[in-house]
Symmetry: D2
Subunit: 124 residues, 4 copies
Amino acid sequence: MNLLENLGIKVVEQTKKKVVLEMTIEDIHLQPYKIMHGGLNAVLAETAGSIGANLNIKEDGFAAVGVDIMTHQLNKIKDGIVIAEATPVRIGKNIQTWQAFTHKKGSAINASLSTMTLKKVKVD
Amino acid sequence: MNLLENLGIKVVEQTKKKVVLEMTIEDIHLQPYKIMHGGLNAVLAETAGSIGANLNIKEDGFAAVGVDIMTHQLNKIKDGIVIAEATPVRIGKNIQTWQAFTHKKGSAINASLSTMTLKKVKVD
Amino acid sequence: MNLLENLGIKVVEQTKKKVVLEMTIEDIHLQPYKIMHGGLNAVLAETAGSIGANLNIKEDGFAAVGVDIMTHQLNKIKDGIVIAEATPVRIGKNIQTWQAFTHKKGSAINASLSTMTLKKVKVD
Amino acid sequence: MNLLENLGIKVVEQTKKKVVLEMTIEDIHLQPYKIMHGGLNAVLAETAGSIGANLNIKEDGFAAVGVDIMTHQLNKIKDGIVIAEATPVRIGKNIQTWQAFTHKKGSAINASLSTMTLKKVKVD
């Protein structure tokens, strides 16, 4: 069981232009104050960005790995289903930049905004 | 069981000037390529920074919550015990900035560098 | 002559929802390799975000100042007119988040993406 | 006259392990509220990080350019001489991470903290 399975993160959509994830909030996603742990925004964004970036790498034996990630926590989430949507800002040959917004399903209010830089590396 | 218990994150040291966390890498921390999921660096950093920031808030009824977090993934971690050490960069009245390095226990090579901004909020 | 006058940064549009700046590239904007200095993306973004954030503060005696800024340099600019457009991601009571894209006038290719956090402070 | 000359940024020290810059604050560095423009922290950091990163590239025909930069504005600067000190966090083959602190000369209080990611590119 990897981290995505442990946290119940599901891939709802995955193309070169957009990746959507879903996660139903349970106790295991909360920090001690009973709100979703802010670090999970980074987990969701990094997961979505990596999936999308890998779809844009055509060469065998290469994969996209995260260089850095910036997450802004905009609004608290306490329960419900969280949706993370990532879209590319720039698809470079060796470096890609992706951005992800998370929001609660059924709400248009963003909970976090993340921007990732990913690089192409040889898979060993 | 909250996120910290789910992921096995233990607080080893906590003062106003330094917070140290430990986490033993297991399958549940890995992404599909079998390395530690990069988003966990943000989870560790945010956890450590929040603990430290809360120790610096003296007023009852207030807590520190994350505003944003920037994580640089410097080196891959595949197994072993991960140590995250956070120290304050600036303790302001309403805004604090903390920085955290993670490394593998027994190694001096940093695996990630995170910088967090946290704000004081009323606890409701 | 302040920094904006020194660099020839002009405010083209300013509302609570959008701020647009223009800057004609000259030698004084270049780094030694003859491309626009990457730090100017942060100057443009911070300027645009601050103007917009201040328009959203209604109370006398308060102003918005930058907390942090993240800039991704997407594509090089060597000459022409640079446009920076900032829009709000979240307008909180004490903390605002703004995002800015810069591109060359007449081109749809983004040169940089910046995200800023700004806070309300008492003006002394 | 390039941007560094225009802003009076002087290189005081440059080695593979440390780069130090100095800038005397004048009107041309201020934003309209008469404090140093926050974007200049990014200009100083990017300049220092680029110089240091280039010293770590040994191959002819390659240079280091900025990928992204994160700047935290810790304390206001109104006058005096600003010192920016950059040191490497990680020197990778293709990607380097540098960090810079700025402070006022004669003061130990940090004014900003910046972290940069830089990549090696072919010079055309």
